[in-house]
């Protein structure tokens, strides 16, 4: 039996919200970045799944996925640069401790 579309969407939804929870709960900045990557992955899965909805792959969904890849990569690079730069300032990696922007 073929896997119905809904299963893929369910997986995507589950992964997305797991990532969500991770972003909210974890305190280590790098781990937060990892969870963001998970969320992006989930989005990609949903995109590809939907582009398969009507038969042959609709290439526009795939194009969008390519762009999501690009953006995710750029975002990780810059995000890590920021984290490292902040870490150099004060060697703290707990985001709860970094609240100089208060007010």
């Amino acid at each position: 039996m073929t896997i119905p579309l809904s299963f893929y969407i369910a997986v995507s939804a589950g992964l997305f919200f797991i990532g969500c929870a991770g972003v909210l709960v974890r305190r280590n900045a790098v781990v937060i970045l990892m969870c963001v990557e998970l969320m992006l992955n989930a989005a990609n899965l949903a995109l590809v799944a939907f582009s398969r909805r009507y038969g042959a792959i609709d290439e526009r969904g795939s194009v969008f996925v390519i762009f999501v890849f690009v953006i995710a990569a750029a975002e990780v690079a810059v995000g890590l640069a920021i984290v490292l730069s902040a870490y150099r300032n004060r060697p703290v990696i707990d985001v709860d401790e970094i609240h100089q922007m208060k007010g």
Binding site: C20, V23, L24, R27, I32, V95, D96, I98, H99, Q100, M101, K102, G103
Partner: protein
């Protein structure tokens, strides 16, 4: 020449700009020359225009440009050149020119010399616009302009408090009148759909409701009372004597104050069609005339006497308009311009010769020391007292005659009594100044005749005073001026009367008699001291005090009206401070407080921010889900 009519105001405007921009640093006393030359050119052009109108061009409209054109409302900057405006142009520009020349001498030592000529040039410009306009709105521009210049020039010596207070008073009273004028012209537009004189008069023939016309006329007349110092808006004029004497002569005798008369004369078709309004005009004029004359009887400042005299003579002009003799009113306007300007300039000459003294109680016996001034003032005084064959006689006689012949016997009586009073006070003023023993020997010793630049205009005005009446007003009712102006102003308002020669002569005799009686009383009282003026003053104690204090009108106005205005202003101020400002302040305070509150959202903890993002995401999901499921409506 008529096509060049717009050059007439252009010259004074140019003088104003040149003197204003360059006068202070570079032009020094040349400002006077420039200004006088400009007005002189205007005068020449006015003569040319006058001759051309005389030659037959009865009514021309010279348009300069299209000013306002909004839907129905269309007003152009255009000049109406007809006999009435030609006469006004002539009077204004010629008298102005003579006064300008005189001022070169009078103001020679004043540090504000250039400023004086700047404002005076602007004034002439505005006045010319006023008399040339072909519609009520453009006339209003000139109207306001002369009011402004009056303010600037009354308060010329602003270092002292009296001049600027007087200037403020003049301007405010003018403004109150202007309110009336504005209501008048707005109503005119609403009723006639145009502000153009010719359009309005033309449409008048098609019939307009009487009540509306009365409103319009009374509103316009209210404006005229402000400008021409009639009751109730007259008290600014005596105070305006704080300004330099040439200003008093030009603005407050010959030109600005006559604009009210011009307004009514120009609007005669409207006034004639609105019956009761002419009555009002006549009554107000007559009452003002006698009222002011009584005050002039007891004043000691030579300029104040002349000021009240002006108010009184303007009252005569309005009386003339009211009884249906507009030609007589304009005639008197012209002759009055000459002899009153002469009286003022002569007074200025006396003041100048005495080094600034204006109190007649300190003068006396000056006729030998200042002969030219004396003889010219004598001529002018005689004209004011309406002695034939001087100019004043012809015009004033015609006014009272018209009153009599048109059945306004009460007004006629008032006119005759006022003539007696006028003759008396002018005799008193002249005697106290020029005859008798000098009351202040020190002043007398230093007195001297004025320089030629001042006495020459006096002489020229004197010539005008003597010959003008005969030249244009003889024989009565059929003189040149009647034939010239008649068709313009008598169009719908002229009263028909063809009196017999005997009646005319009788009336003339009565007028002259009134004048002689007045002079006689004056001579008796002041030369022979029978009765002695001081004794009379003591005997008539309360009445005398009433007159000297000008009927306490100023105090009345101040107490009632000004206080009321101050109370309202105070209330408005409180409203402004507490409610309007309070609103703004509270608003600012509220924003600041909410800002403080919102600041707490910025915790600086990244986790909180992420949480907020997720919460927003949840909200969006709910909204979208609800929308898709039809819960929130399509």
């Amino acid at each position: 020449m008529i096509a060049l009519v717009w050059l007439i105001p252009a010259f004074p405007l140019a003088a104003f700009l040149i003197n204003g921009l360059f006068g202070r640093r570079w032009l020094g006393h040349w400002t006077g020359v420039i200004a006088s030359a400009a007005v002189g050119l205007s005068a020449l052009l006015s003569i040319g225009v006058f001759l051309e109108v005389l030659g037959g061009k009865e009514q021309t409209v010279v348009e300069l440009y299209r000013w306002i054109g909004v839907g129905d409302f269309s007003v152009n900057v255009a000049a109406l050149v007809d006999p009435l405006s030609a006469v006004m142009l002539l009077v204004v520009s010629v008298v102005s020119f003579l006064i300008f020349v005189y001022s070169n001498g009078y103001m020679a030592h004043d540090p504000g010399f250039y400023r004086f000529f700047t404002w005076l040039s602007l004034f002439v410009f505005a006045m010319l616009i006023l008399v040339m306009a072909d519609n009520y709105l453009l006339m209003f521009v000139g109207w306001e302009g002369v009011g402004l210049c009056s303010y600037l020039l009354i308060g010329f010596w602003f270092e002292r408090p009296e001049p600027y207070l007087a200037a403020k008073k003049a301007f405010l009273m003018n403004r109150i009148g202007d309110w009336g004028y504005t209501i008048g012209i707005i109503t005119i537009f609403l009723v006639f759909n145009s502000m153009n004189f010719l359009d309005v008069f033309h449409r008048l023939e098609q019939g307009v409701a009487q009540g509306v016309l009365v409103v319009i006329c009374l509103a316009l007349f209210f404006g005229a009372t402000g400008k021409s110092a009639q009751l109730p808006l007259y008290s600014w004029l005596p105070d305006a004597m704080e300004g330099p004497t040439p200003v008093s002569a030009l603005i407050h005798a010959a030109t600005m104050v006559t604009s009210g008369v011009y307004l009514v004369a120009r609007s005669m078709p409207l006034f004639a069609a609105a019956g009761p309004s002419l009555e009002v005009v006549g009554v107000v004029g007559a009452v003002t005339a006698i009222f002011a004359a009584t005050i002039a009887l007891v004043q000691f400042d030579i300029k104040r006497v002349m000021a009240y005299s002006t108010v009184s003579q303007l009252g005569y002009m309005f009386l003339a308009l009211g009884v249906g003799a507009p030609v007589a009113a304009i005639f008197h306007l012209a002759t009055h311009a000459f002899f009153k300007a002469l009286l003022f300039l002569g007074s200025g000459s006396v003041i100048h010769g005495l080094g600034g003294e204006q109190d007649m109680r300190k003068m006396g016996g000056l006729r030998r020391k200042m002969p030219v001034t004396f003889w010219t003032m004598l001529a002018a005084g005689g004209a004011l007292a309406a002695l034939p064959p001087l100019a004043g006689f012809w015009s004033k006689d015609e006014i009272v005659a018209a009153a009599f012949l048109n059945g306004h016997l009460v007004l006629y009586a008032i006119g005759i009594i006022t003539a007696v009073l006028t003759a008396f006070y002018v005799t008193r003023a002249l005697w106290m100044t020029f005859y008798g023993e000098p009351r202040d020997q020190h002043l007398f010793d230093h007195a001297h005749e004025s320089p030629a630049v001042m006495t020459l205009p006096l002489i020229l005005l004197g010539v005008g005073t003597v010959v003008l009446g005969i030249a244009i007003g003889f024989p009565p009712e059929q003189g040149f001026i009647h034939r010239f102006l008649g068709p313009v102003v008598e169009a719908a308002g002229g009263a028909e009367h063809a009196p017999e020669l005997a009646t005319i002569l009788l009336l003339a005799v009565v007028s002259v008699g009134a004048g002689i009686v007045g002079i006689g009383i004056g001579v008796l009282m002041y030369v022979r001291h029978r009765p002695d003026p001081a004794a009379v003053a003591r005997a008539a104690g309360p009445l005398y005090r009433l007159l000297v204090n000008k009927y306490y009108i100023d105090e009345l106005y101040d107490h009632r009206i000004v206080e009321a205005a101050r109370t309202i202003a105070g209330a408005s101020w409180a409203f402004d401070i507490h409610i309007i400002d309070g609103l703004a302040n509270r608003l600012g305070w509220a924003l600041a407080i909410s800002g403080q509150g919102l600041r707490r959202l910025q915790t600086g903890v990244v986790g909180n921010y992420a949480l907020t993002i997720m919460a927003g995401l949840l909200l969006m999901l709910v909204a979208y889900g609800g929308y898709a499921a039809g819960i929130f409506g399509r």
